[in-house]
C-alpha cells in the first residue's frame, strides 16, 4: 500500500523533487468523522461529523478550548487514538491511501514516513532512559528499505538533522539523555525526529504550549521554516488563537466536537462568521487596561500596600549556589494591580512567596501596609495573612477534594473562630454571591465543579477574612481563554467594589497588559524594568522586555486592532 518510494535518507537538497509542487493537490481528506469515548450509555461523542481537507504544503491551525475535540481529531488522523476511543463513522484518506480501516501493520509503515507527530509536552515525550542519538537514529532503523546502513551514515544523518533544527554541538548531544536538555532543545529534537523522513503531513499537537514565550517563538520559527522547505502540510493543534493567526494560512475552529468555522486566516480576522469565533478573537486581541477603571485611591505620598526593598533569596541545591531572587525592589499603590512577568525560573514566584512570608528572604525587606514584616513569625504571620492572601495557579490542588465548598470557604472563619455557625454560613453565602457562584454549589465538592468555578471558590476563600491584598500566582494559567476572561472581569469588579490591591504573577503578556496598572519584568532573579503598563508595553526600556514583546504571539491580531483603532479615530474626526 505504500506506493511512494520511501526515502533512504533525508536530503535537504532533493526535497523539492520528492514532494510534487502542485499546491492545490488534495493531501488529506477527512469526511463525516465521528469518534466516541466509552461504550453504550456512557459513550460520549468527542468528534461529531467532521469534514476536513488539507492540500499539500498547507499549514492549518485547529483551534478550540479543552474538550473541543481538536486533539482527538488530530490523533485519529495518525491513528493514535487512546484505547477507549472508537471511530463510529466517517473516513480518513491520505493522498491515495485510505487510512480509515488500515491495519496496525500498515499504519506502522505510514507513521514516521508519511505522517509525523510533534507532541505537546516535550518534557515527557522522549524516552528518559535512552540517549538523544539513539532516539533520532531509531526512525532510520524502523523504516529501513534496502541494505542495512552503516552506523556512520546513520550518525551523519542524525547530526545533519540536529543542525537543521538549530541545535549546537550536535556530536555532544548524541550521547546526552533527555533530562540533560532544556525544554526548548527537547522540542527541537522532537521536531527533528518528526521531520527526519520528510513526511507529507505533520500533526503538531500544542507543540509549544509547555514552553516559555521566547523559546516558543524560536521553536515555532524552526518548525515553520522546515515545513515550508520540505513542503510538508501541517495540522497545528492549539488553544491559542494568537499563535494560530501568526503561523497558519487557514484556521479551523472547533467547539464541542464540531467545526464551527474553517476559513483562511485573513478572512477570519477581517470578519468571523461564527459568534463563538468572534468571542475567541475578541478575547485573544489586545486589551489595554481601560483607563477609566483605574481607581487611584491613594495620592503620591500614601503608604504602598506592598513594598519590597532589595529582596534577595539564595538556594543551595546539590552543592550549587543559586541566587533565585536578586535585589528586587518595588512598591504597589493601594487599589492598583502590579504584575510581575517573566519566564519560568525568573524568580517571580519566589518573590511572591517571600512577600507572603512563606519563604524567608536571604536579604532585603518586606513591608505590608507600611509595616515591616520581614522577620515576623508564628502568630504574627497568622495575623499578617488575615489581610494578605494567595490564590494558587492550580485550583485542583489548592482545594481539599474531600470537603464541600461551604467548608472550604468557611475554613478561615473557623480557624479564627469568627461568629457562630449560622453567622459563618451567612458569610459564606455572601462570599459565594460576591464571586458569582450559585448558592446551590455550596454543598458540592471541588471535583464536581469546572475549573473556573474552582478558581472562584479559591478567590472567595482568600476574601473570607476581609483581605485587602491578594497575590495571584499564575491564577489564570490553568483556565481556558473564555473562562480566563470571565475571571479577569470578576477580579476587576472585586477591585472596583472592595478597593483590592493585586500582585499578579504571570507569564502571559496578553493577560498582564489587560489587568495591570504597573508592570515589573523579571529575568534571572532581577527586576529589569518597572513602569506603568502602557509605557512598558508601548516603549520598552530594556532589551529583554523588547525580546519578550517580540516573541509574544498575536502580531497579526495586534496589527489588526491597531489599524481598527486608527480607522475608528479617523472616522470619528
Amino acid at each position: 500500500m505504500n506506493t511512494r518510494e520511501a526515502p533512504t535518507r533525508p536530503r535537504t537538497e532533493t526535497a523539492p523533487d520528492r514532494v510534487p509542487h502542485v499546491p492545490d493537490e488534495l493531501l488529506l481528506d477527512v469526511r463525516g468523522l465521528r469518534i466516541e469515548y466509552g461504550q453504550g450509555d456512557a459513550a460520549r461523542t468527542a468528534v461529531d461529523g467532521v469534514d476536513l481537507a488539507l492540500r499539500r504544503g498547507e499549514i492549518v491551525a485547529l483551534v478550540g478550548e479543552s474538550g473541543s475535540g481538536k486533539s482527538t481529531l488530530a490523533k485519529s488522523i495518525i491513528g493514535l487514538l487512546p484505547a477507549a476511543a472508537r471511530r463510529t463513522a466517517g473516513s480518513i484518506v491520505l493522498g491515495d491511501t485510505n487510512l480509515t480501516d488500515a491495519r496496525e501493520k500498515d499504519l506502522e509503515k505510514i507513521r514516521g514516513v508519511r505522517i509525523g507527530l510533534v507532541p505537546q509536552d516535550p518534557g515527557a515525550s522522549l524516552d528518559p532512559v535512552r540517549t538523544i542519538g539513539s532516539q533520532l537514529a531509531e526512525v532510520f532503523r524502523l523504516h529501513r528499505d534496502g541494505p542495512r546502513r552503516s552506523r556512520r551514515s546513520v550518525r551523519a544523518d542524525v547530526i545533519r538533522l540536529l543542525d537543521l533544527v538549530g541545535i549546537d554541538r550536535p556530536e555532544e548531544r548524541l550521547k546526552q539523555y533527555p533530562h540533560e536538555l532544556s525544554g526548548g532543545l527537547k522540542q527541537r529534537v522532537l521536531i527533528a525526529i518528526a521531520f527526519s523522513l520528510q513526511p507529507e503531513l505533520l500533526i503538531a499537537d500544542e507543540p509549544t504550549s509547555a514552553l516559555d514565550v521566547t523559546v516558543q517563538a524560536r521553536v515555532l520559527d524552526v518548525f515553520e521554516r522546515l515545513a515550508r522547505e520540505f513542503g510538508t502540510a501541517v495540522v497545528f493543534v492549539t488553544h491559542d488563537l494568537a499563535v494560530a493567526t501568526d503561523h497558519a494560512v487557514r484556521i479551523v475552529v472547533m467547539r464541542r466536537g464540531r467545526i464551527v468555522e474553517d476559513r483562511p486566516v485573513a478572512d477570519i480576522l477581517a470578519e468571523p462568521e461564527d459568534e463563538y469565533t468572534a468571542r475567541l478573537l475578541e478575547e485573544a486581541s489586545p486589551h489595554p487596561r481601560a483607563e477609566a477603571r483605574l481607581v487611584s485611591v491613594a495620592g503620591p505620598g500614601a503608604t504602598p500596600a506592598i513594598e519590597v526593598r532589595g529582596l534577595t533569596r539564595d538556594f543551595d541545591r546539590a552543592g550549587e549556589h543559586h541566587r533565585a531572587v536578586d535585589g528586587v525592589s518595588f512598591g504597589i499603590a493601594q487599589g492598583t494591580t502590579f504584575s510581575l512577568v517573566g519566564e519560568s525560573g525568573s524568580g517571580k514566584s519566589t518573590t511572591a512567596r517571600m512577600i507572603l512570608r512563606l519563604l524567608d528572604p536571604t536579604a532585603g525587606q518586606v513591608l505590608i501596609q507600611g509595616e515591616d514584616v520581614t522577620s515576623v513569625s508564628g502568630d504574627q504571620k497568622r495575623e499578617l495573612w488575615r489581610s494578605l492572601q494567595l490564590v494558587y495557579q492550580n485550583p485542583d490542588s489548592a482545594l481539599d477534594p474531600r470537603l464541600p465548598v461551604r467548608k472550604i470557604v468557611g475554613e478561615p472563619l473557623l480557624n479564627y473562630r469568627i461568629g457562630t455557625r449560622v453567622e459563618r454560613d451567612g458569610r459564606v453565602a455572601d462570599l459565594l454571591e460576591q464571586v458569582g457562584l450559585a448558592p446551590g454549589l455550596a454543598g458540592k465538592r471541588p471535583l464536581e465543579l469546572s475549573g473556573g468555578q474552582r478558581q472562584r471558590v479559591a478567590i472567595a476563600r482568600a476574601l473570607a477574612l476581609g483581605a485587602r491584598t491578594l497575590v495571584l500566582d499564575e491564577a489564570l494559567s490553568a483556565l481556558d481563554v473564555l473562562t480566563q476572561a470571565q475571571i479577569l472581569r470578576l477580579l476587576e469588579d472585586l477591585q472596583q467594589d472592595l478597593g483590592l490591591t493585586y500582585l499578579f504573577i504571570s507569564h502571559d503578556l496578553h493577560v498582564v497588559e489587560r489587568i495591570s496598572t504597573t508592570v515589573g519584568v523579571m529575568r534571572r532573579g532581577q527586576l529589569v524594568e518597572t513602569g506603568p503598563t502602557a509605557d512598558v508595553f508601548g516603549n520598552p526600556a530594556s532589551e529583554y522586555t523588547r525580546l519578550l514583546l517580540d516573541s509574544n504571539p498575536g502580531h497579526r491580531l495586534r496589527a489588526l486592532t491597531d489599524s481598527r483603532s486608527t480607522a475608528a479615530l479617523s472616522s470619528s474626526r
Binding site: K105, R111, L117, P119, A124, L142, I193, A194, R317, A318
Partner: protein
C-alpha cells in the same frame, strides 16, 4: 558515581551492623542468659554446669565487653559457637548453605523469568480476555501459602501419579518442583510491581511519539517500555530476598530437603542463641549485598538517578 557508590556501600554496612546490634539487644531482653535458657529448655541442670558453660561462651562477662568481643570476633571471621553442638557457627551454616543457595538462587532466576514473561504476555496480547487472565495471576500467586502449594504438588506428582519421589533423590524433578513452588510465590510481587510501573510507562507521552515514529508494539515493549519500567521492579526484586529465604525454609521442610531450613528450625526450637545470631547476620548480609547490587544496577537502567540529589537508598525512598 564515586559518591553514589560510597554512599550505598556505607549504608549497606550500617544496616548489617544495626541488624546485628538489634539482635544482640533483643537477646538481652530474654528472661535469662542464653546458656541458662538453652540448658533449661528440657530439664533442670545444676548451676555448676551452667556456670562452666557460661564462662566458656563468655556470657559471664559484662554486656559491653560481650558486645565488643563478639563484634571484633566477626571481623576475624569468628561467629561464635553453637550451644547445641559446640561446632563453630560458620561451619554449621556453611555445611548446609550450599543446598539452600541452589534452591533459592534457581527460584530467584525463575521468578524473574516468570514475572517478565507474564508481564510481556499481558502487555502484548491483543485479546482482552487473555490480558485480564494474566493480570489476575500475580494476586493469585501471592495468596497461595508456599507450604500448601508444595504439599498439593507433592500429593499429585508423587502419590497420585508417581512421577516424582517423596524425598529428594537428585532427580531433575526433585529440584525443579521445589524451585517452581518457591518461584511462583516470589514472582508475585515482582510481577505486580512490574505491571503497575508498566501501566505508568504506557501513560507517558513518549509512547505516543514512538508509535508516531512507526514502531510496533513489541519494538516499543522490548526496546523502551521494559527498561523504563524495570527500575521499580528491580527495587522490589531486591526486597523479595527476605521472602525468598523464608520461603526456602518452608519449602525445604515440605520437600524434606536438607539445608538452612532445618538449621533455622533447630536453632530456634533449642534456643541456640549464637546460632540464631549467626543466621540473622547471614540473612541480613545476603539481603544487603543483593540490594547493593540492585542500587548499583539502577543507574545503568535510569541515568537520571545519579543526577537527582537523593539521600538514602532507593529502597527506603520507594513507595
Amino acid at each position: 558515581m564515586a559518591r553514589y557508590l560510597a554512599q550505598r556501600i556505607g549504608q549497606a554496612l550500617l544496616v548489617v551492623w544495626l541488624a546485628y546490634t538489634f539482635v544482640f539487644l533483643a537477646v538481652q531482653l530474654l528472661p535469662s542468659d542464653p546458656v541458662t535458657i538453652f540448658l533449661t529448655v528440657d530439664s533442670a541442670v545444676d548451676q555448676a554446669a551452667i556456670d562452666t558453660m557460661k564462662s566458656q561462651y563468655g556470657y559471664d562477662q559484662p554486656l559491653p565487653v560481650q558486645y565488643v568481643h563478639q563484634l571484633l570476633g566477626l571481623f576475624s571471621g569468628d561467629f561464635g559457637y553453637s550451644l547445641a553442638s559446640g561446632e563453630s557457627v560458620s561451619d554449621r551454616i556453611s555445611g548446609v548453605a550450599g543446598s539452600t543457595m541452589v534452591l533459592a538462587g534457581s527460584a530467584f532466576v525463575s521468578a524473574v523469568l516468570i514475572a517478565v514473561l507474564l508481564v510481556a504476555a499481558a502487555t502484548l496480547t491483543r485479546s482482552g480476555a487473555a490480558r485480564r487472565f494474566l493480570v489476575n495471576l500475580p494476586p493469585l500467586f501471592s495468596a497461595v501459602p508456599v507450604f500448601w502449594l508444595g504439599l498439593v504438588l507433592l500429593e499429585l506428582l508423587s502419590i497420585r501419579w508417581g512421577v516424582m519421589s517423596l524425598f529428594p533423590d537428585g532427580s531433575f524433578l526433585s529440584l525443579a518442583v521445589p524451585v517452581l513452588v518457591l518461584a511462583v510465590v516470589v514472582s508475585a510481587p515482582m510481577a505486580q510491581v512490574l505491571l503497575k510501573s508498566m501501566a505508568h510507562v504506557y501513560e507517558q507521552p513518549f509512547i505516543d511519539v514512538l508509535r508516531a515514529k512507526g514502531a510496533s508494539r513489541s519494538w516499543i515493549f522490548f526496546r523502551h517500555a521494559l527498561k523504563n519500567a524495570a527500575g521499580p521492579a528491580l527495587t522490589i526484586t531486591g526486597i523479595t530476598v527476605g521472602t525468598l529465604l523464608a520461603g526456602s525454609v518452608i519449602t525445604e521442610t515440605v520437600f524434606a530437603r536438607s539445608g538452612l531450613g532445618s538449621v533455622v528450625l533447630q536453632a530456634v526450637t533449642t534456643q541456640d542463641v549464637p546460632l540464631v545470631q549467626g543466621l540473622v547476620l547471614l540473612t541480613a548480609t545476603v539481603f544487603v549485598v543483593v540490594n547493593l547490587v540492585v542500587d548499583l544496577l539502577y543507574p545503568l537502567l535510569d541515568p537520571r538517578i545519579l543526577k537527582s540529589n537523593r539521600q538514602g537508598s532507593a529502597r527506603a525512598l520507594a513507595a
